[in-house]
Structures are given as structure tokens and as C-alpha cells.
Symmetry: C2
Subunit: 243 residues, 2 copies
């Protein structure tokens, strides 16, 4: 029986999604809970890996399991076995051809910043502090340049296993309220570090270190060195996966 | 020279605002930073104490100091000496008759909850989890009953030092978005635990354990036992003080 589950986690204490020997990971914690409950070594398949420190509001996974437990009871029994920074929010049986990664149509990420010369105690674990002398209009305009189908190899941490580095961004927008900045980006998939590098590039436009008019060239150049820096992981959240 | 300062803090690691022997407090940390920088034992006066675990976005304090430092440099030098969960956001010289507590005209607090049968890892340190079978309309109506001038002794933790237990609430409203609930309350002052008990009473109305029509009676009874429970401190934030 194939199960789809929606997971929320605070990535702050973990070495990312993927199981790694000797490290605490989200996948590792979930598989340990499944083993503890069922006695079965069950492998989870996520919509995609999240890096160390990245959080998720609605990560989606699938797994195959033999069980007589009702779905809600299975979910609650697993939640009891999980640390308080990981919870399964929904669980449902799906057809055998559902795949958390390959069936995904859209993925939505948010990146959080605040523009202030003074650190914010209440946002220090969720938002990146950036210097306030930014041109926010330029940043908002920069977002539009990433929308569409592009080869994003210059906006990724190289991974020789990847067959294609072409991805489609459906929307990219920057919301600003007081000194809070949220960049929300929706695409059919993202290369490793791609969201963090796109946000680093948008930030550099706001700092007037990259010109808006140079963005098409920077994207087309496929040159990692011309894009902005990889922003820190802790301010990135995987919001939703659409199927 | 009298200085007014605006402070943001994450109260999670502290035994509250007020200095206590052998305990880590916000006032204690700030006074230690002032002593370290100036060599002077300077006493801070806050708009009001916050309890253990309560956070503040804009707590206001005043203090008297002899210094030749410019205001911005003094603020930055103090911030360098503070832990990362306390920051001074603004500092300005004020007239000698300004008093953080007695000059305050309005205080605004928020209380955060989420209505779900499953814990939320991303909100576990900022929002109280409440069971979702609530009548949100009743809760929104309940808020209105607290607006006005009342003797709130029944909504307070007894303090024999307090001369008057009459306070005026200017506004009380509940904002709901998805499963997020925020109660925002503005008044000329609050008794000890008053916001947390008012929110506990609003929650009990939502749980249909207190009738809307009984609220005036409960307030007039001045009987602590008839009001709702004192909700936990960690989900309470002091938002703003108006002068």
C-alpha cells in the first residue's frame, strides 16, 4: 500500500532531509519512527531534498507499507515517535503510480529577510538580516527576469548526476511589509541551491551591484560566478508541493 | 541625561523582565551591558514587567546616564555586549520628566494560537496549540465584551501592592487566517497575567464552556475562579507602547 504524507519541520537542528550516516536528518528521524512502530525498514521518497537548516511547511513524501492500522492512527503513532520539530500533518493512501518527486507539478519556496542595521531577536532564526540601503523597487523588478524556462546551471551548485539543468519558473515575487521582505518562487523544480542563488542575485540588484539590464545576460551566460551569492539556508522554507 | 530606548527580545531563555538574583533576566542583561560599557550601575525602568517566557517587539525603557558618546554609538556599543536574543532598536534623549511606565498612554499585546489537532513544528515556540473544534465567531464576539473601563481584579494574579485594579481596554480583536489565531489587545495598562487570562476566557467561549451572555457577569463578579485559565506565557508578545 502506497502512502502520501505531508510533513512540517523546523530544519534548524538537522543536517538536511537526506539520511546520512552519523548525522541527524529529517528522513532519518521519520524512518526510525517507522521502524520503531512497524518493525519494517521503510524507505521514504521526498518531493526533493532540503539542505541543512532549511525548513518545510508542507514537504511531501511517499512510502510503501504493509499495515492494518487506520491512516489517522498510523499518523498519530508516528508523530508520538518523532521529535517536536518534525510532524506529519496529513496522510492518505494513493495509487501505486504516485511518486512524491516525479508526480510533482509545482514547488513553492519562500525566502525571508529583514532590512535593518540592527539584528532582530524575534526573527534571527527565520529571516536573514540585510542592510537597509536597498532599492526595493529594483528587487521587485528583478524577480520578473527569472520567470520562464531557462537553463539555470549558472544558478546551481554543480551536480554531475543531473541530466537536465533546464527549469521553468512560473512566478517569482517579492512581498514587503515594513522591514520584512519575503521572496516567493514557484517552479516545476529547482536545482541544488537554485532558490538561494536566485535570491542572492535579487539582493545584489537591490544593492546596485548587479544591473537589471544585465540579468538576461547573466542567466544566459550559465556562469555561476556572474550570479549572486548563495544566501544562508536557515531563512529558506519549502512551502508547498502541487500535484 | 535621560534616555528612552526601544528593546526587542525573545523571552524564551529568560526568567522575565525584572532582575532577580541568580536568574537570567532581560533587565539584568541590559544593566550588565551598561555597567560593562560605562562602569556605572544604571537602573532601567521599563513600561512594565514581562513574565518569564514573554517576548517583546517594542518594549520601552528609560534610564539616566552620564556619557559623552553619541546616541547611535552608545546603542551599538551596548548591542555588541548583549546576547543575540536582546537588541536595542532605537535610543533617543528625552526630557527629565519622561517615565517609561508613568508616561505610557497605550500598551498593545498580541497572543498567538493555532487551531489544529497536530502540533506545528514551525510555530511551537511562538503559538499555543488549541484544539480545532472552536467556534471562532463566538471568540470574535467575546473580544468586544472586554473593551471599556472595568475592574479587572478577577482577571489578574493577585498583587496586594496594586492600588487600583481598574483598567481601560481600548480595543480587543481576534484575527484569523487559516488555522492561525491572533488576539490583539490595546489598553491603558494591564494587571499581572491580565492578557493571558482574558485570552483564556475568550478561548473558553470558543470551546462553549463559557456563554457570551455570561461575560458581563463574570467581569462584574471580580471572581478569578469564574474567568478562564491563564494561558502559557511563551505565546504572548508585548508589541508596542504609545506615549
Amino acid at each position: 500500500m502506497r502512502i502520501k504524507a505531508v510533513i512540517e519541520y523546523d530544519g534548524g537542528n538537522y543536517a538536511g532531509w537526506q539520511e546520512q550516516f552519523g548525522k541527524s536528518t529529517i528522513q532519518g528521524e521519520l524512518q526510525r519512527a517507522l521502524l520503531d512502530l512497524t518493525g519494517q525498514n521503510i524507505i521514504l521518497h521526498a518531493s526533493g531534498r532540503t539542505d541543512a537548516g532549511v525548513s518545510a511547511k508542507n514537504q511531501v513524501v511517499h512510502f510503501d507499507i504493509d499495515t492494518n492500522l487506520k491512516m489517522y492512527n498510523l499518523m498519530m503513532a508516528l508523530n508520538m515517535r518523532l521529535p517536536d520539530d518534525i510532524r506529519i500533518k496529513k496522510m492518505e493512501q494513493v495509487s501505486a503510480d504516485f511518486h512524491a518527486r516525479y508526480s510533482a507539478k509545482k514547488k513553492i519556496y519562500t525566502y525571508r529577510m529583514y532590512a535593518s542595521s540592527i539584528e532582530s531577536p524575534l526573527r534571527r532564526k527565520t529571516h536573514l538580516q540585510v542592510w537597509p540601503n536597498l532599492d526595493f523597487n529594483l528587487m521587485q523588478e528583478a524577480c520578473r527576469y527569472f520567470v520562464g524556462t531557462h537553463d539555470f546551471i549558472g544558478f546551481s551548485h554543480q551536480n554531475p548526476q543531473i541530466v537536465s539543468t533546464i527549469r521553468t519558473i512560473y512566478s517569482c515575487e517579492m512581498l514587503k511589509r515594513d522591514d520584512d521582505i519575503i521572496i516567493k518562487i514557484c517552479g516545476n523544480g529547482f536545482l541544488h541551491n537554485m532558490v538561494r542563488i536566485i535570491c542572492g542575485t535579487i539582493l545584489k540588484v537591490g544593492q546596485r551591484k548587479i544591473k537589471l539590464s544585465d540579468l538576461p545576460d547573466i542567466i544566459n551566460s550559465k556562469d555561476r560566478k556572474r550570479a549572486g551569492q548563495t544566501l544562508p539556508a536557515f531563512a529558506l522554507t519549502l512551502e508547498n508541493i502541487e500535484y
